[in-house]
């Protein structure tokens, strides 16, 4: 509704920037423009965006064509109104009804066509843009699934989230709104100018007298407000960070009696925000009234000059009427274009950020000759394996060991020694940088990734549960499992008692990441999940760290049960949990410093012995050993 025939002279020019969507929730607030992120590479990004539209291209081109036709038709409106006015310029008894009839009939036809075209264009555009966005979203999600863990580890979740949501929505706005607006805007400007020049070059001069002022003032204000808004954004960010921190850590704030101090900090930031906000608001608030004034001055200029010209017989009264509309159709898009351009900019920048993800290196594809790993015996071999998350910071150096099928290997050592890294390599979350890891005599990379991961059962340090019922979460590793199997797994993991105590039992809905369960209960579920999946190789990465030792003891038997006949790797801080492993490896600074059975290592009185005595010395002494 941005460009129809006669614009009201003093229409509320503070209307929100026109959006194709109109007035639904989501319409922004006038005068509030966040900092605009500038795209790095316009041309390539736009080209790529266009290529992404695929099948929609023809339809999109058709829509654009309609937009152009429509804009041209709309230009006829003011002219026809002018002609109709002229038909009655003679005054009483002198109205030329033949001319009026023709003009009005044409006008109505133009309006009807315009209505139809606007509708068709909106309707089609909605379909196209939504399909494009959906496909883009889908492509991005599919891509994200193929990305290696390295990608997720090196990026903040918030950043990824905004790429997957906001940025894609921005792309949508670009497609659906910005492009169309820019097209209609520029046609409106050029067309109005042409029409005005055609009608009266002299009056055009009067009408455009305000244009330099518009440019000058908007540029000046924009130059001032740009940094102010950026500043405001920064203060707002600081405020949000402070709020997030002090609210999520409010227990500590209260425990340390820091309320007043925290409030003081808040007030300082809040005050700064208020100051900057007021400045930004005042500056940007001038824009609209100024535009209004300029519009009104233009209006007056047209009225006066037009009247003079008309009195001297250079133009008809109808021309004045036409001019009033054309000058508005000329000035208003000029003003909007700046806004729209910002919209387009942030859309393209959004697209760029989306493309960045799409261009990330994926998890290496399976070798063409990659074998499917089915029911492996589970003979695991590390052969001079080296690895570092960063190229110049080695985490593992030249590690070699062998875990025969069906044996259990425990990894112990201080935090950061590289225990979890070994697990990351084994499951190919990361690939080795040197050496090779073999299962049943073949390098990991010679198996398909899917079959490789399927043969592992992993209970991780940080359990993660998904929203859904408890049963669904246990079933996660084996979707086809029966209710009975789920229950058995839960019983084995000792999760059954607490599950049954919940009001809905196995049907209890968990919130995101099982927020309504204790950490220990979450871990029991994660263990049940692995019990059910019955993998060939088992990995327990601090699986029982959040479970108290008594409960741990209760699931220990069950763990032993699953470990039986399976190659297993256990990482644990508490040394008692690994005493019965077939072999214990002490890792420090990325190297194996000691290995052997518990008794053997104790007898050696080395690193392991010292670690053990540190933990249990007093206990053993107290127990009279």
């Amino acid at each position: 509704m941005s460009r129809q025939a006669p614009k009201p002279n003093a229409a509320p020019s503070e209307l929100p920037p026109p959006r194709a969507g109109g007035f639904g929730p989501g319409a922004g607030h006038p005068g509030r423009r966040g900092a605009v992120v500038k795209p790095k590479n316009w041309k390539d990004t736009l080209r790529r965006l266009w290529s992404l539209f695929g099948k929609e291209k023809a339809l999109l081109a058709f829509i654009f064509f309609m937009v152009i036709v429509d804009s041209v038709i709309t230009l006829a409106g003011p002219y026809l109104i002018g002609r109709s006015i002229d038909s009655m310029a003679g005054g009483a008894g002198q109205v030329d009804f033949a001319l009026l009839g023709i003009a009005l009939a044409t006008l109505i036809a133009a309006y009807a066509t315009d209505g139809a075209l606007t509708f068709a264009q909106g309707w089609l555009m909605a379909g196209v843009s939504q399909r494009i966005v959906m496909n883009l979203r889908r492509a991005l999600f599919a891509k994200v699934q193929k990305l290696p863990l390295r990608f997720f580890d090196s990026r903040s979740q918030g950043d990824l989230m905004s790429r997957l949501t906001n940025d894609i929505d921005n792309v949508n706005t670009t497609v659906a709104q910005a492009v169309v607006q820019i097209m209609t805007g520029s046609i409106s400007i050029l067309g109005s100018l042409a029409m005005m020049l055609y009608l009266s070059p002299l009056l055009t001069l009067a009408a455009l007298i305000t244009v330099p002022a518009v440019f000058l003032l908007t540029r000046t204000i924009a130059r001032k407000t740009g940094p102010l808004f950026k500043e405001q954004q920064a203060r707002l960010g600081a405020l949000n960070a402070h709020v997030e921190e002090t609210i999520s850590g409010i227990h500590i704030v209260k425990a340390f009696n820091r309320e007043e101090k925290v409030i003081q900090e808040f007030e300082t930031i809040n005050e700064e925000l208020c100051q900057v906000g007021t400045q930004a608001q005042i500056r940007s608030g001038f824009l609209m009234p100024i535009m209004n004034v300029i519009g009104n001055v233009g209006f007056a200029a047209i009225a006066i000059t037009g009247a003079w010209l008309s009195v001297h017989g250079y133009i008809t009264v109808g021309v004045i009427a036409s001019f009033l509309s054309y000058s508005r159709q000329f000035v208003r898009p000029l003003n909007d274009l700046a806004n729209t351009f910002n919209l387009l900019q942030s859309g393209v920048a959004g697209a760029e950020r989306v493309f960045e993800v799409l261009d990330e290196e994926e998890e290496p594809a399976d070798e063409p000759k990659a074998a499917v790993l089915t029911n492996p015996a589970g003979h695991v071999e590390f052969d001079r394996v080296s690895f570092g998350y960063l190229a110049d910071v080695p985490i593992l150096r030249d590690i070699s060991f062998e875990s025969p099928a069906g044996t259990s290997t425990a990894l112990v050592g201080p935090t950061g020694a590289g225990k979890t890294t070994i697990v990351n390599l084994l499951t190919r979350f990361y690939d080795v940088t040197g050496g090779s890891i073999r299962i049943d005599g073949r390098d990991l990379r010679d198996y398909t990734l899917d079959s490789l991961r399927r043969s592992f059962g992993i209970v991780l340090q940080d359990t993660y549960l998904f929203s859904g019922t408890i049963a669904e979460n246990i079933r996660y590793g084996k979707p086809e499992a029966s209710d009975e199997e789920v229950r058995t797994a839960a019983v084995m993991a000792n999760a059954d008692p607490f599950i049954r105590r919940l009001p809905q039992g196995y049907g209890t809905l968990l919130s995101e990441n099982g927020g309504n369960l204790s950490q220990g209960q979450r871990q029991l579920l994660a263990i049940a999940r692995v019990f059910l999946a019955k993998p060939s190789i088992l990995i327990l990465d601090e699986a029982t760290s959040s479970i108290d030792t008594r409960t741990e003891l209760q699931i220990q038997d069950a763990l032993l049960q699953v470990m039986k006949g399976r190659t297993s790797f256990i990482i644990a801080h508490r040394l008692n949990t690994i005493r019965e492993a077939d072999r214990i490896m002490v890792i420090d600074h990325g190297q194996i410093v000691e290995q052997g059975g518990h008794e053997e290592l104790m007898a050696r009185q080395g690193v392991y012995y010292r670690m053990f005595m540190n933990q249990f010395g007093q206990l053993e002494a107290a127990a009279g050993h």
Binding site: N9, A10, P25, M88, V144, K261, V293, A303, G477, S545
Partner: protein, 589 residues
């Protein structure tokens, strides 16, 4: 919006002034088309250039007046709205900081943050909007109608038809469109939820190879979103052209009717032009009103959410100390029971109703170290959160220095207590600032000493900026063990009377832990210490160990005593000592 009352009192006057200026602005806008029509009808028609100039001058004057009003309005409105927003935000923040723990539990943390940020901004924008356009729109609409009818009552027949149709369309659009947009928002939340979950659980997804399922989940959310947005967008694509079409046909009708009346000599051409101007003015203000209404609905929802926070009245009451308490205190003056639990029961308000503590009684003398051990969910953390009055017990009493804690000012009480929580929470700032949290005026030597005892010095000195090293939000750039050690240092520097360690060395390896304990023993001489632990070794040398089981005290005593007489403790012990003892544990436990 009752919560706005104090602010109305404070900002009512400038607000009213701003509205006055806004009215002047609207008036100026409304006058122009009428003057315009007179230029054409009186000036051009009569070839009276003098009249044209005079009226033209009047137009410019009116415009200037409008501009002046707009400038004043802008200055006032910007200031008032920003100040108001800042005030509201500050008061809300203060309120939240004054919350007691039970009150805090009633709100989700993220939701409190949204209320402080988005919701306040929402209201602030609305108030700002009120002073900028919201009031202007109805004024323009009404004024436009009056001017138009006044200008030419006969032509107003067209308005009589067009305005109701447009109004109807707007109402229809709100009726049909708003719910649709709400549904769009909901499905967008679903997409975001699915995405966030995937990103947080990416390791598990990869480990279990669940790409298919995750994709399915995402796809269905994605499809739903598309369908709903499409429906909403299509409603809009019908709405806008139909409004425009109605108005445009109205214009055609005005010209036709006007032409006939001009021909009959009842009116002049200028009126038609002015009338068209008014009509579009009315249309735009109608659209604006629908938009204002939308803003109002959102602001109202925000105001309600903020109102909930203000309405929460959970500040802890200080119960008057009873005579018995005062006596009791005097009576026990000889040997101070630093902390005393006397048949304390407690259930979380708003929880399942299951008591988290049942009839817990124990005594901790000044300078003693008491260990608390028990399985997850046995009530250990609940127990200690009653001492600094994070929560108040439902029955029974807790005494610190012989005084019922409920008779004590929580601030005073907490001053003498330092807590190291289970999850170490650090704040943006330097390491030094974080340690200083515990004691504002601590000297550098004190800070270093605290860090040394907490075994944090070594890694701090390993950082490029040492004590000046900046931590990211919540200390993201430190490992779990490092965070725990800093959080211990922060508690130690207070030199509190009572030190509470809630399983706060879980991420620290055992060697470091024993060094911390050793340092603590020297430093903490005279400090009463409560230590919650998973590992028996952490509490083995405590003066007394309280064994918790399902909210009850299952045993109290030294390690040896408990080992002899407490079944729960024996089980815990056996589970930790390892294999040999395991045969004795009944499988049913």
């Amino acid at each position: 919006m009752g919560l706005l009352r104090p602010y109305i009192r404070k900002y009512g006057k400038p607000f009213a002034v701003a509205i006055c200026f806004l009215m002047c602005e609207a008036l100026a806008d409304l006058l122009l088309p009428t003057i315009m029509s007179r230029i054409i009808d009186d000036g051009v028609a009569n070839r009276d250039l003098d009249m044209v100039y005079r009226l033209g001058g009047l137009m410019l004057l009116v415009t200037a007046g409008g501009a002046l009003a707009a400038t004043m309005r802008n200055l006032i409105a910007s200031r008032v709205s920003q100040r108001f927003g800042a005030d509201l935000r500050r008061d809300l923040f203060r309120k939240i900081q004054s919350f007691s723990f039970p009150s805090l539990d009633k709100f989700e943390r993220p939701s409190l943050m949204t209320r402080l940020t988005n919701d306040v901004t929402q209201i602030q924008n609305f108030v700002n909007g009120l002073m900028r356009i919201f009031v202007k729109a109805p004024l323009l609409c009404l004024g436009g109608l009056i001017m138009a009818v006044n200008l030419n009552p006969r032509l107003s027949v067209v308005l009589l038809v067009v305005v109701p149709i447009v109004a109807l369309l707007i109402v229809l659009n709100m009726r049909v469109g708003f719910p649709l947009f709400a549904r769009v928002q909901k499905s967008l939340d679903r997409i975001n939820g699915t995405t966030r979950e995937y990103l947080s659980g990416v390791r598990v997804v990869k480990a279990f190879n669940r790409y298919g399922q995750e994709t399915e989940k995402f796809d269905s959310a994605n499809q739903e979103y598309r369908k709903r947005s499409l429906a909403a967008a299509r409603v809009m694509s019908v709405f806008s052209p139909s409004v425009m079409l109605t108005v445009n046909f109205g214009i055609a009708a005005i010209i036709w009717l006007g032409g006939r009346r001009v021909d009959a000599g009842h009116m002049q051409v200028g009126h038609i032009i002015a009338f068209i101007q008014y009509m579009t003015q009315i249309l735009f203000s109608l659209l604006m009103i629908s938009w204002v209404f939308n803003m109002f609905v959102r602001a109202k929802a925000s105001a309600e959410r903020i109102g909930e926070v203000f309405a929460e009245n959970g500040a802890m009451e200080r119960a008057p100390a009873s005579a018995e308490e005062t006596e009791g205190r005097a009576g026990r003056a000889g040997e101070t029971a630093k902390i005393e639990f006397d048949r304390v029961s407690f259930a979380y308000p708003g929880g399942s109703g299951e008591p988290a503590l049942r009839e817990v009684s124990f005594v901790c003398r000044a300078g003693e170290t008491v260990g608390i051990i028990g399985s997850t969910g046995s009530g250990k953390s609940t127990l200690i959160s009653l001492i600094p009055r994070f929560y108040d017990s439902a029955s029974g009493t807790i005494r610190v220095d012989g005084v019922d804690v409920r008779a004590m000012d929580p601030r005073r009480l907490r001053e003498s207590i330092a807590v190291v929580p289970q999850q170490s929470i650090l704040f943006t700032g330097t390491i030094e600032q974080n340690i200083r949290w515990g004691k504002e005026d601590a000297s550098v030597a004190e800070i270093e000493q605290a860090a040394r005892i907490a075994q944090a010095e070594e890694f701090i000195l390993g950082l490029p900026d040492r004590y000046e090293a900046r931590l990211g939000q919540r200390g993201v750039n430190l490992s779990g063990g490092q965070k725990q050690r800093l959080s211990i240092a922060r508690a130690l520097i207070r030199r509190p009377d009572i030190l509470i360690l809630d399983d706060s060395t879980s991420a620290v390896d055992t060697a470091t832990e024993s060094r911390i304990k050793e340092g603590l023993r020297k430093y903490a001489e005279g400090i009463t210490c409560l230590i919650i632990a998973q590992r028996i070794t952490s509490v083995i040398d405590a003066d007394r160990i309280v064994v918790m089981d399902d909210g009850r005290v299952a045993g109290i005593g030294t390690h040896e005593e408990l080992l002899r007489g407490c079944r729960s403790y024996q089980e815990i012990y056996r589970s930790q000592i390892g294999k040999e003892a395991r045969a004795d544990v009944p499988a049913s436990s």
